[in-house]
Every structure is written in C-alpha cells, then in structure tokens.
Symmetry: C2
Subunit: 341 residues, 2 copies
Amino acid sequence: VAGRAKIEDVARHAGVSKATVSRVLNRPELVSAATVKRVRRAMEQLEFTPNRHARALNGFRNPTVGLLFFEELRDLFVNPFWGAAAATVYESLAARGIDCSVIALGSAGYGAERFSSHSSFEQFLQTRNVDGFVLVGNVGADQEADLASMETPVAMWGRPSVPGSTLTYVDSDNLSGSTEAVRHLLGLGRRRVGLITGGPRLVASRDRRDGYLRALSDQGLPVVDTLVVDGDFTSASGRRAMAELLDADPGLDAVFASNDEMAIGALGLLRDRGMTVPDDIAIIGFDNTAAASAPDVNLTTMSHAYAEVGSALVEAVVRGMAGEKPSSRLIATSLVRRATA
Amino acid sequence: VAGRAKIEDVARHAGVSKATVSRVLNRPELVSAATVKRVRRAMEQLEFTPNRHARALNGFRNPTVGLLFFEELRDLFVNPFWGAAAATVYESLAARGIDCSVIALGSAGYGAERFSSHSSFEQFLQTRNVDGFVLVGNVGADQEADLASMETPVAMWGRPSVPGSTLTYVDSDNLSGSTEAVRHLLGLGRRRVGLITGGPRLVASRDRRDGYLRALSDQGLPVVDTLVVDGDFTSASGRRAMAELLDADPGLDAVFASNDEMAIGALGLLRDRGMTVPDDIAIIGFDNTAAASAPDVNLTTMSHAYAEVGSALVEAVVRGMAGEKPSSRLIATSLVRRATA
DNA sequence: ATGAAAGCGCTAACAC
DNA sequence: GTGTTAGCGCTTTCAT
C-alpha cells in the first residue's frame, strides 16, 4: 500500500487536471474520447487504483454489507443449514458487486455478551462502516430490538422472535412447509406419526411444530403428547429423540424431524436397531442440506428455496441502502421426495 | 449513516477544539484528565463513532484482512475441512481485533476466469483495500505467482504448488502425518493396505500419497499398484474407490483414505456389503472433521492442529503488515484413535 | 495542555 | 470539455 499512485500523479502524467481524471473514473461520458484514452493509459502505466477510503469520505458508496452471524462462527462454516444460507447470501451479494464483511458474534469472536448496553452494540456495528447488514443465525431479542432501530438497513434470515418487531426479514414459510411434510406422511397412509422438535426456543422450531399440529388436526387426528419430543437440531439429539419415540410407541409408523440433521440421527438409530425405512417407519426431515442427498442417506425432506431467500435478503438491504423501506417476505418451501418417505 | 455526529460536534459540545477530541481518541495521555472526561461524556451523549474512512485516509490502519477463497464459496461453508480452516482463521483474526472480509473466487462470485492478465487480478485485489490476505482453498498456479509478487502481505493455507514459490505459507505436515497414519495401520498387524488418494492435482493429496509410499517402503513392503486408487476428496468418490479396491484384492485388510469424507464413503460401502470395521478392514482418514467424530462414524483419523495453523497464518500476515518478512511453517498433525483402526 | 491550520485522496459544484 | 476550488471527517505538526 506504500507509495501508490494517486489521482494527482495520473493527472500530471496525462497532462490533465485531477478533476478530469476523476471524471474518467466515474462518468467517462463527460470526457472526450481522446482524453479518456490518454488518462486510462496513464492509469495503467502507474498501476493506479483509487483509494476507497477517500472515495467513501465523499459519499461514494463502495457498497459493503456485513454478514452478521450470531452464535459461534464455526457453525457458520460447519452447520450445514447456516452454511448454505450464508453461501446464497454471499453469492447474491457478489452478483451485485457488493463486498461482504463477515462479522461473527460467537464467543470465540466478539461475544455478544460484551455488549451490555444498547449503545455499545450499535456502536460496535457502526464502526464497521458497512452500508447494510444481513443477519443470519439466532438473533437474541435484545439485539433484535437494537438492530431494528438502527438507521443502517438490516435484513434478517428468519422471522423475528419479538412480536411486532419492525425488522425486515425474509423467511421460508416453515408453517406451510411442515404442514405439507406431515401431510405427505399422512398421504402415505401413516397414522402414528411422531415429531422431533428443535426445542421451544427458536421461532423456526415453533413454526414447524405448529405445522405438524395443524396437519394432524386438519385430518381430525389426535395429538399424542408422548409423540412430540424435543431435540436441539443436532444429529445426536435426533438419535436420542428417536429412541424416546420408539419407547413411547413401538407401533409408530412415521416421524417428522424438524431438520435434516436430527432426521439423520434418527435414521442411524433405526438402522442400528435393524428397522427398515420407510417400510417400518417413514422419516421426513427439513432443510434439504447437502447431507440429506448423500447416497447412503437419501432423505426425504422439505427444501428451502435457498437462492431465492438469499437474493430476497440482498434485495431488501439494497433497497434499504437506496432509502426505501423494504418489506418482509415469506418464501415457499418444496417437498423433495427421496427414499425415506 | 446519515447525520452522524462528527468530531466537530463533540468539540463544540464539550467546549474544546477538534484537535483535543482527536487526542482523546488516540492519545488520551496527552490530555488533562478533566478534559478527557468531559469529552468522553460528550461523545456518549452524541453517540459519536469515528468515521473509519476518514481515519484511514490519514494513515490510520483499521486492519482488515481478506479471506481469499478459491473455488466455489459454497465449499467454504459446506466442505467440512475448508469450513474448519476458515473458522480458525477468522477466530484468530477476531481475537486480534482484525476485521475479515470474505472474498470468494468461485464462479458464482467473482470467477477467477475473469482475471485474464496478471494486472487485472492484482487490481481487483487492490480495490478491496485490505491490509493483507489469507488464502484458503486450491490456489491456481497463475494466481499463486501473482499473489507472491504483491506488496500486500499474503499467507496461504497449504504448500504452494509452484516449486520455489516465495509465497509465505503454513501447512500441516501432510507427509509425516500420512506416514504415521499408515504406520499405525501396519502396527495393527495389517499388511495389505490400500490407499484412496485425492487425485494427482493437489499438493496435499500428493504429499499424503508420498507418506503412504514411505511408510510401506520403510517396512520393506512392496507397493501394489492396484491398491492405490484415485478419488477426488468427495464421499461418493471414496465409496467408488473402496469398491475398486475390494475388486482388486478381496483380502485387503486396511485402507488409508486421504481425507475423512472419502473414508466415510468407504465405510458406507463396507457396511452395505456387510463387512465389519475394523475387524475385516481397518480404515483411517485424514483431517479430523466434525463428521469423523459423529457417534455412528467414529472414524480414526489424522487431525490437523487447526487452531495452530489458523493463528500461525494470522501471525504471518500481521508480521507482513508490520513490514517484516514472515517465514513459512509446517505444523505437526496428530493421530486420533477412534473405532475404525 | 490546548488550539489553529494544513493536509490525507478523492468528488462535485461552479466557472470558463 | 476541462480546470479551479472547496470540502468529506479526521490526524498531526506547529504555535501558544
């Protein structure tokens, strides 16, 4: 970064003024073709690259959005769902030429705990000097409120947990999706279907449970309490939950797991017990992560429209950056039929 | 970003000059305690946050390093090895208060193909205005050369493929690691051990193959050509390779897979064929990714010292930013004994 | 210990 | 079409 050529050098080299060089950079149509050419050549010779900070200082937007990730960063890279989510956001950003600065708030990075007061969290974000934020992960209620009140545009992947939040969000329609998942099971003739939830804490988890309940009651089927078991979205918890379900009702014929990882954990247990899927028990997951399509898994699941959610999110921040007030969206999921249901 | 308080506002509010406010920000020891206090209070009241671009323009380093990822971005978030690698780099960066800007060069983002000439690639990187780069993924030879000649410090995860490259790198000692892996197999009394490689293209893959060869020849064992099969680091290829190996030698008693994913693919095939691991065939992988430790996998494998590699990489760029010429490092791997060998 | 003033590299009126 | 000039928000001599 030492001794980089500046606009003034280029100007001297090309025998024009700084302003002309600047115009060539930003609005070449205002400059005569010959001059443009001369200036461009000078730029190349001097290996000139504009200083983004100087441009930014003049209100030039060198758009950068912060990909704000809550919870441990490792999960961003390791948890298949969040990884896929982040990847589509990044790709939409890149397609629009927007830089992406990753900001993880897991304790290994900047622990969210560090931000006691509203203002210190906001300030932390302010100093990043990005033009917008896309939120991914499980945002705490406090931070959700802080974020909603910032002037920098923000768009969140997933419905806000705070009722009446004004935060712009894009989410998969988890309620309809899970309803469809369970209906699919019922359509297969299954009548004793269990649910493995993702715990009571997360909105997506509650939505998926509600879909399960709705599908059953739509068919006039009773909800059996012991057939609803909490997991925590990890494969190990799915395995445990599956065992519990089998204890509760050995005649169980189907299970809806609230995500693929838990479904895979459940599958593992069934395999170990020598049961066959889907003949003995049909299994359906949610998310359609990469692992679900592995040849020895081949899990039937509900898929997010990943790319669509990602680009809707990016569109929302971009609109926000343009001064508009973007609206939230719910995006349909789709059934991916594979071998387990 | 509109209407943010600036230094001048704070100065007026506190009844001092801009210079004093700036001093409070950067070198408070030069300002009287009382003034510092007054200014700080004014800052809080006005929710002042310094403008990073203005500071940068004055040579203030607001360190940001670019995490440059080659190949598809999805892999960063989805491929377990690269994900873990990126996470440790990010964490080391965060621990030092360095911002991280992710730049993926997969075709879905900014395809590396776009950069025909040396200078256009360099220029692309220049405009990111970061202070250093950490390279992750499989860097092409051309880009490796370009990167090596940049003034911005660069540190790469993995040995350069170009012989004699001056690029600073940090790598796991794949050669010793794989030698140890195969020795472990031999120590178990196995004598007919197969190798699933990651293909001839990648340096790490070749190093791991060389380790296999070395371990065998150290024991005076012959290398059987048909027991060395190419995969491509995916689970599916591991599965295929395992089948090939079994065809070549039904009496095979061990396999070293060049990464965990392929080992897991191989495990799947063996399971489907009703063979038991490790009794019939012992399997050892490489990388120690999260999947290897899953309860129903429990793969014996060679682990990278992830955190150490990540922090060595960050230390290297940081030294580079300080004007030093950092040196490359090779970091030892370690055997993680689990159920498959 | 504090203030005044000159830039950092660039953009955007406003003149010519 | 192109040049002149005044900032953008901050840091940093140089005075006082």
